[in-house]
């Protein structure tokens, strides 16, 4: 298993998580109630929507894009593409920044933690680390070829 394969797998898992939370947000899955310190409080807070779109749906978009890039990166054509590595790294970096903002809101504004959101945060962090390693390796490989 290469790093890009791991990225694709994690993205797929994240995609399902995002779809689950989106369905939850729209009431398709489960019924929401207000209980102490739970996902419901986070999911129903005013911060669960960003630019008119549920945060979970933004997550779906993020993971779809990441999945597409990771799988494209497995194709011979893009195997050595440093541009693709950079795109993945930038996307993952943006994911980390956005997730950090959401975690900040959970901790200091909403005062509640959503375990699904924390799971997604963990995945985004792992994706970023993998993307960073992948980018460094393509750079190294390019340098070797250039030499």
């Amino acid at each position: 298993m290469t790093k890009r394969m791991w990225m694709a797998l994690i993205s797929l898992a994240g995609l399902f998580l995002g779809v689950y939370l989106t369905m939850y947000k729209f009431g398709i899955i489960g019924s929401l109630a207000c209980n102490v310190g739970s996902c419901e409080q986070v999911q129903t807070s005013r911060w669960s929507v960003f630019l008119g779109v549920p945060v979970a749906t933004w997550g779906v978009g993020f993971y779809v894009l990441m999945l597409v890039l990771a799988i494209a990166g497995l194709q011979p054509r893009f195997m050595d593409s440093r541009r693709l590595s950079l795109a993945v790294l930038l996307l993952a970096g943006w994911g980390v920044v956005f997730t950090a903002w959401l975690n900040y809101l959970e901790a200091f504004v909403i005062h509640a933690w959503c375990e699904w959101c924390l799971g997604s945060a963990g995945m985004v962090l792992v994706l970023f680390v993998l993307a960073l390693m992948d980018w460094r390796e393509t750079k190294q490989a390019d340098d070797e070829v250039a030499a």
């Binding site: 797998l9 797929l12 019924s31 929401l32 207000c34 005013r46 011979p76 005062h111």
Partner: protein, 273 residues
């Protein structure tokens, strides 16, 4: 990995064929795992959504718990065959969703038709910073016979006074109440003095005593339901409770008692169950 990538890439180094075979087996295994995860994920989501219409948090009412007497705020006919109790929190988004989306149908088809009487009891949850302010404001409006109007305004404008919107909820609550109550200065004084705190505390204690642990929680017949309900689910539970009680529900709307608003303070002495 860098070396491997170069080797298995576009033939930059010798040993490409061997490495490609390895890569192709690895790729096959990878796509198999992807397919398994995809199928598993889709199956899990389908299963979860198929369960969404079930009422999962219903439990029989413990008859040893204290009965609901005249606390709370009542809407509907005192002769209705069933009283439905809602333990609610004005700052809870799900209570807001129930109040704005489901409750209009409940009032029109069940309360106005004389099938049920609706009782609202405050259960301010600790994670909602302004919910006590809202409950006190609703009690202050009730003192002027305007509880339900204030109830509706509070839920419809949650995003104007909740913990994320403002640090001065009383200011917004006064603005909302002033449009509703006949005596504004009395209402504002009531909010400032917090004179309704004990009343809200009594409601909160009642909910605690009845082991309510979230909002909205409904008591419909012999069932206590700790989740939000759609109108269909609500009606189904009401119909079943009326059928169990053996009382007759009015056949059609319009031929029965009109909806009346009875403030809790003025007292509807009927027992809740």
């Amino acid at each position: 990995m860098a070396n491997k990538r170069v080797e298995t890439g576009r033939g930059r180094k010798p040993g490409v064929v061997k490495a490609s075979k390895k890569a192709s087996t690895s790729n096959r295994a990878f796509y198999l795992i992807i397919a398994v995860i995809a199928i598993g994920g889709i199956a899990a989501l389908t299963y979860a959504s198929s369960k969404s219409n079930e009422i999962v948090n219903a439990s029989p009412v413990d008859t040893t718990l204290p009965t609901v007497k005249s606390e709370g705020y009542v809407m509907g006919s005192s002769t209705a065959p069933l009283e439905v109790i809602e333990f609610g929190d004005f700052e809870c988004p799900q209570c807001g969703r129930f109040a704005t989306l489901t409750e209009p149908d409940v009032r029109k088809n069940l309360v106005d038709a004389g099938k049920i009487r609706l009782r609202y009891i405050d259960f301010p949850l600790p994670m909602h910073p302004h919910t006590w302010n809202a409950s006190r404001a609703a009690a202050c409006a009730d003192a002027q016979g305007k509880f339900w109007e204030m109830h509706d305004a509070l839920f419809a404008n949650q995003d104007r006074w909740d913990g994320a919107a403002t640090n001065n909820p009383d200011k917004v609550l006064k603005q909302l109440g002033d449009q509703i109550v006949p005596d504004k200065s009395k209402f504002e004084q009531c909010i400032d003095s917090k004179e309704m705190q004990a009343k809200v505390q009594a409601h909160w204690k009642l909910a605690e005593a009845r082991h309510v642990n979230g909002t909205p929680t409904f008591v419909i017949g012999d069932q206590q339901i700790g989740q939000s309900l759609t109108y269909d689910q609500f009606k189904q539970l009401v119909d079943s409770a009326i059928a169990k009680s053996g009382k007759t529900a009015p056949a059609a709307s319009g031929d029965t008692a009109k909806s009346t608003t009875v403030g809790g303070k003025k007292g509807d002495a009927k027992k809740g169950q």
